[in-house]
């Protein structure tokens, strides 16, 4: 088998990022959208860590630590918003959470 290089990790990151983007675009359920967002953040981290190891540059790991912290805060905010939607609409189906037209 051919040796594994930086591009393999970056390619996997790109695939993961696009899968996450697809999930955000197509999922109707708000929590599923949150999960897809986590996939996108993980793709970024995979990139950063691969760079950290192959460039090599320690800063990649530092950046990844920050990204994880930010993702955690985003998830907490997202869950609060989902609960707020559920309380008002009694469901979290995004196709029906579209009342404003102008």
């Amino acid at each position: 088998m051919s040796p594994i290089g930086l591009n393999h990790f970056l390619g996997l990151g790109a695939v993961l990022f696009c899968l996450g983007a697809y999930g955000v675009l197509t999922r109707r359920n708000a929590i599923a959208v949150l999960m897809s967002l986590e996939l996108m953040f993980n793709a970024v981290n995979l990139n950063l860590v691969a760079f950290a190891r192959f460039l090599p540059n320690l800063d990649g790991v530092v950046l990844a630590v920050f990204v994880i912290a930010v993702a955690a805060a985003e998830a907490a905010v997202g869950v609060a918003l989902v609960l707020s939607i559920y309380r008002n609409f009694r469901h979290i189906d995004l196709d029906q959470v579209d009342t404003m037209k102008g």
């Binding site: 955000v24 967002l37 950046l63 985003e74 905010v77």
Partner: protein, 503 residues
Amino acid sequence: MTNALTMLQALTPEVVVAATAFLVMALDLRRKPNPRAQATVAIFGLLAGALATLPDWLDTTSGQVPVALWGGLFLADPLSVVFRALACLTGVLVLLFSIDPLDAERRNPGDFVTLVPFVVLGLMLAVSAGELLTFFVAFEIVSLPLYLMAAWNRNERASAEAGLKYFVTGSVSSAVMLYGISLVFGTMGTTFFSQIAARYETLTDPPQAFVLGSLMILAALGFKIAAAPFHVWAPDVYQGAPRPSATFLSTAPKAAMVAVMLRLFWGTLALQGRDFRLAETWMVIFAVMAILSMFWGNLVALVQTDIRRLMACSGIAHIGYTLLGVLAASRAGAQLEGAAAAIYYVVVYSFANLAAWGVIVLVGWRTGSDRIEDYSGLARRSPFLAFALLISLLSLAGAPPLAGFLGKFYLFRALWEAQPAWWWMVLIGILNSVISLYYYFGILKPVYFGTPRDEDSPLPVPWRFRAGLLACLAVIMVLGLYPGLTRMTLQAGAAVLNLPGAP
């Protein structure tokens, strides 16, 4: 290594604002919290923060700044001084306009007042950041509370919907920005603006992934400032969010993002002052964004009946005008003019927009309606509110002698000088200003010539609104009549582009 005193001096405004934020938070923990008192503390703290930037304003004339801390991670330069002061003042005005309605309707006023200074802190750090990740974290401090402020009315469907829409678009743009940052990091080996610039000079050709990463960062910034084609979320969010929150999120992040765009694209990623390999590409991209934003914003605003949606559309159009300045900043010889015009315009836009939203908050709170037809006869119900709306909308429309006119004039002149071959862009800008007059007068006509629905019931204006609106009007008129800030913004422009000081 910078010594501790320099560090402390450069960070004074942030320290003051952070201390205010924690003090206000502590006040919220008392057994019987008093949100109005907390708001007063926060207002004075933020004013102190704005005052604390004063030494830096003075130092810009004596050449003491820019100061770079932690190897360029934090920059206290003229650009950040202008926008740090603006962030503090925006926070003050938002507090003045929000505390009365929130407290009267019992919508968590204490938490709202606590979050405002934190958001201001995030804005100040975002405009001073000299490193991509620092900027990102600072901007998340701004974004996360704003997502939830949009959903602040807990038992209102539209508000929850606005919050979730804002969150999903905002988070996707954050992820896109992070991916872009990771690509820039991979190609340049660093995320510090100064080091990216230095590394770039050693390359013969910019790597594909670097351009791709910069584009992703630009797209994410476009989402955050609601520039076309990344604007679709804005009208829904502004309409659904509670009015005080909409006031905040339609002003503060936009101004800060314009500062960051100037710093990032003409200082770092496009590397403008050094060579022009990428400048042409960026100019075309910015031109497309500007034209789309202006036309979409102004044309869609024409058919709106809800004043909040109208303000959202007009905000998109104004970002389009501002991008003309960012674009003009890309040509040798016009960088200073372009950057200064963009900065001047976005400062003026902030105050005019805040004044208009102040009126919208008060009228919406008293009448419970945002339909433009319900504004009819406002001049008879409250001459002061009608006058405030008149001045702010005329400034947004660009009528002389108000600051908005001067702002547009500077923008078009900068664009003309930067790229005379693109004279048609100036024409498009003027055409759009004319279109915008139509819908701004569409609001002002019922206000002055309509009859009130319920016969002439006067609309009392609480002192906080009166003070805030008077301050905004004073700024709009003073900046229009005495454009003394222009010299300051010229220096700010110089700082962005690392040029010698302005004349």
